[in-house]
């Protein structure tokens, strides 16, 4: 651990990685709490995998068409938001076939991304980075985007938390009270997509669900108020990111996978430890 702390002071790339992890934890801890209590984890899985289409498209534009101002993170964000809106619309209008359509969107989104990446020079490295994550690959511009999106998520949740709580708990009551339930649901999915994009930087597409759900699920074991669950989830997520990166540094393991593994072990261990007490 001491060598990791020393490396943080001397290695700006490692410092950026830790900062990116902590920045992602803020949004994912907050939004992940809604995802867990609203039980929309499957929807999040679909959004996270559809994001690959945007990443692939932007990489293809950048490498083959020479459009340099566009970044994979921006592509991921646009694809994530579009997927969230599409899935939300499907849920609101075709609930009977919701799961099949979401699953189809999940695989089609990935397929589009893989096709674009296959047409892009050097795709193997990029594909691996996006699928399993590479926190050390965060650029200063990515960090700025992460902070901006964090601020957006926090402001939205500060103003809308009680409304989101209402639609998560009892949509019928929220509708009776005159809340725009469908619009709030779509907004929640969009914020979820934003959080997913933040987390892809840290743990990658395949492991993103772990970080979005596990901190909130653990926090839910200790608290019975959603606002408290959110604060705890942010803290737990920060702990996983910091601890996982330190472990990965010392063991020379991939950072994303190590963070996700740390979270997974903690999730299994928490109820066991509680049971022993």
């Amino acid at each position: 651990m001491i060598s990791f702390l020393e490396a943080l002071q001397t290695n700006p790339m490692l410092l950026s990685a830790v900062v990116a992890g902590l920045a992602s934890s803020i949004a994912s801890g907050i939004i992940g709490s809604y995802v867990v209590v609203k039980r929309i984890v499957f929807i999040c899985g679909s959004i996270s995998h559809s994001v690959l289409s945007g990443i692939g498209f932007c990489l293809w534009l950048e490498r083959t068409k020479g459009i340099e101002w566009i970044t994979p993170l921006q592509g991921a964000l646009v694809a994530g938001i579009l997927s969230a809106l599409l899935i939300g619309w499907i849920r609101l209008h075709y609930r009977q076939r919701e799961d099949s359509i979401i699953a189809a969107l999940w695989s089609v989104g990935m397929a589009v991304g893989i096709l674009f990446i296959s047409q892009t020079p050097g795709f193997n490295v990029e594909l691996t980075n996006f699928l399993i994550g590479n926190i050390l690959w965060v650029t200063p511009s990515d960090l700025n985007t992460l902070f901006a999106l964090d601020v957006l998520v926090i402001l939205c949740v500060l103003c809308l938390h009680k409304r989101f709580l209402a639609i998560c708990f009892d949509e019928e009551q929220a509708r009776l009270q005159g809340l725009p339930v469908n619009a709030l649901y779509l907004l929640l999915l969009v914020l979820t997509a934003v959080s997913i994009v933040l987390l892809i930087q840290v743990v990658g597409i395949i492991l993103v669900m772990t970080m979005l759900t596990i901190p909130a699920a653990i926090a839910n074991l200790f608290s019975r108020r959603l606002s408290h669950v959110m604060c705890m989830a942010v803290g737990i997520s920060c702990l996983f990111c910091f601890g996982g990166t330190a472990l990965a540094y010392n063991l020379d393991w991939p950072a994303g996978a190590t963070i996700a593994l740390t979270a997974g072990i903690a999730y299994i261990a928490t109820p066991l430890i509680r049971g022993l007490r």
Binding site: L158, K162, L165, F169, D170, R175, G178, R225
Partner: protein, 246 residues
């Protein structure tokens, strides 16, 4: 509450789920301050009627007018207590947070409830005897306490019309008595419509009873036994009544 106009006015309302006709030519008026019971067999259309009044469903034909306005959401003068709330017992929400949801229509854009609304929620909790449970998780309450909390949520919105869909269906006898006591205290202060299978309560509490069995017929509580004798209901409900003189 406007004392001159009827609170609810239904005229020739029909409703069907796809090809199944559930309600046919329903017409009735409910006056301000009345306590109306809705009874009828399972599948007779009681809950559908409540959902039409709430504006969650739209009638196939006919008109529904509440407070002299056509049925359109939102209707913040209306509060609703469901039969039971299907929710995750581990959902992180306190009893006070649940009751505050009755004040959501007055929530400012910045998302912090005003003190006056919080006071209304606390008053409602006191009225149903759950003030000491305000910080408890809602999932930790018993069935009867949960229903009382849902009644408190309805009362926090200070409604003119309270709709209840079998609020005592899944609670024990003592909790049922508590709920009827609360409703009796509310009688006359607002218009109340309640779906129930409890015929004794129908006789003791309600000003009028609406029998819903695809069509609706208005009867007085004292007429209830006569109607059941004529085979309106199935056996278990008849058993709840006094022995039928042969």
């Amino acid at each position: 509450m406007n004392s001159e106009l009827p609170t609810i006015s239904l005229h020739d309302v029909c409703f069907s789920y796809q090809d199944t006709l559930v309600l046919k030519n329903i017409s009735f008026l409910v006056n301000p301050g009345e306590f109306i019971g809705i009874i009828g067999p399972n599948g007779g259309g009681k809950t559908t009627l409540i959902k039409l009044l709430l504006g969650f469903l739209k009638p196939l034909s006919g008109s529904i007018s509440i407070f002299n306005q056509m049925a359109t959401l939102p209707r913040q003068q209306i509060a609703y207590v469901p039969q039971s709330l299907h929710f995750d017992k581990d959902f992180p929400i306190s009893v006070l947070e649940l009751v505050m949801q009755g004040c959501l229509s007055k929530l400012p854009w910045y998302g912090i409830f005003r003190q006056t609304d919080k006071k209304k929620a606390l008053d409602a909790l006191e009225k149903v005897g759950l003030l000491d449970f305000q910080n408890h998780p809602f999932g930790s309450l018993s069935g009867g306490q949960s229903q009382r909390a849902l009644i408190a949520r309805a009362l926090a919105s200070e409604p003119d019309l309270l709709l209840l869909d079998e609020p005592t269906a899944s609670v024990d006898t003592q909790a049922e008595g508590d709920i009827y006591r609360i409703l009796k205290e509310l009688q006359g202060k607002m218009t109340i419509m309640m779906v129930t299978h409890n015929l004794q309560a129908a006789i003791e509490l309600f000003d009028r009873v609406i029998c819903v069995q695809q069509t609706a017929s208005i009867i007085n509580p004292e007429q209830l036994c006569e109607h059941f004798v004529h085979g309106l209901y199935h056996t278990p409900l008849i058993k709840l009544q006094k022995p039928i003189p042969l």
